[in-house]
Amino acid sequence: MLIQVRGVVKTFHRDAETVRVLHGVDLDVAAGEWVALMGPSGSGKTTLLNLIGGLDVPDAGSIVVGGEELVGRDGGELAQWRARHVGYVFQLYNLMPVLTAFQNVELPLLLTPLSRKERKDHVETALSMVGLADRMDHFPAQLSGGQNQRVAIARAIVTDPSFLLADEPTGDLDRKSGEEILQLLDDLHRRFGKAIVMVTHDPHAAKRADRLVHLEKGVIVEDAE
């Protein structure tokens, strides 16, 4: 099993208010599996995604990814682990507006010991895979939403991570662009066997996944193939 989540509890504090977002969630994701997390707003989908990606730490429970326990690691160790194993795709692309497509995709490679030439090769390969080899020198403001999300996907895969985490990857796109992005994720999943955990509100997008996990009020209420 690639990802094993056991009894995860997460609570947020806002002023005097305490909100328990996840109530002892268990979830397994196999290598090469595509899991869609669905549920209403506030159900804990993104929180669970962040915990699996090591962006946050649970109050209780265990998260084991690729045999490595994430709980108990400090911020620096988690950052190092994320750089090696996780590829992120965000709803709003989260590209650096001051950098070109090439430079954005190159960012995670700056944390690796690769040479400049090797980084260039990797970036060109990743951008070719998302069909943007001819847009390397464009800035995000010069690209469409769909193209920006492709750049973000290229950035997510350029380090060849163990799995991809996608938070509403089509949420900011029109139907056609969204479909193209889903097709791209599907290709990566099928051709390279990448495991994907995707948060989505869109049932159409969720159909692409191998498995649908439905959360409500911090608990998994449905887990179906």
Binding site: T47, D56, A79, F90, N94, L99, P108
Partner: protein, 389 residues
Amino acid sequence: MTGILRYHLLSLWVRRAGTALSVVSIGMAVGVLVLVLALRDGFRASLATTGREDNMVVLRQGATSEGESLIQRHEWGTLRDYEGVAVDASGEPLATAEIYAAMNLDKEGGGSANFPVRGVMNRSFRVRDSARITAGREFVPGTTEIVVGKALVGRVKGCRLGGALEVAGRPWPVVGVMDCGGGAYDSEIWCDVEVFMQAFRRDMYGTVVLRRRDPVAPGGEDRMAMLLAEDQRIKAKTYTEPGYFRSQTRELGDALLWVSIFLAGIMSVGAAFGTAVTMLASVAERRREIGTLLALGFRPWQVVVGFVTEALVLGIAGGAFGVAIAWPVNGIATGTMNWNTFTEQNFAFRISGDVVLSAVMFSSAVGVLAGFLPALRASRVPPSVALRG
């Protein structure tokens, strides 16, 4: 790390209004620092570069300046013939006895100030040969003729070739203008020492200058100075000629240094706050970008280094701006009271390499101090929170 630095540097360019504001505020503080340091260095340079290392200035023990020193005529005779004094082609010792005083003179454009007057022997032009007559001639011994330093021309009434100064109720004609390349003598008035002593009812010299026959090896012992120090006939205190002038810059030089630290310190607090506010705004605006960097695997310390680098660049740019706005004063002549001699000293503002280096180091420190807190704040936001923007 160069790739991530590119992101930070480009971010400064994209937010150029805030960047420019920080650069200007730091630059203003640096400009003040540069101006005062240029004043100090100009003052120091004008004195410290005066004269020759192989000229020995002899004062009375206990005197801290030429104006306070008294040397009797028989002591001058002993000193002139001292072992180790060089002689000229005619066998005359290259030695001179002088008297130094302050004289209140009217300035062009109103007001008056004390200016240094040096009663000298004609031989002084050969001994203190850093001063050269560039217009007119030397004075004739036994007359009230005078030679003036070039810095006084146009600053003091009557100080021009063909002009005259009112001294002891009589006009003393200016027959020559001398130039010592920006040094102390450019601000002095030279006249015959005996005429001066008669006019001011003095009977003792103040200073003796001796040209050494044998140079002192660097780090070697100064035998002539040691002999003089132990000589019971003369209670003497010796300096090299530039060394004496350096000693005369200490009080004002130190005061100017403290003034510069004080003024630049106050202004830099304002500049640092301005830069910190700009950086905090930038950090708030780029929260999602910071979250993305952390999500991609950049460590919090790398985020700190990135933002501190931005602040450092702001500081260096501010330093360059400060030097640039102060640069027009470089070389401009001015005058101030020398607190050691209580006479007006003319000099030019001097923005040296050291001043530029001090300014840039200062502005870099202001930038880094101002940027550190915002940088720390940026790095401490949990990535999951930062990603929400």
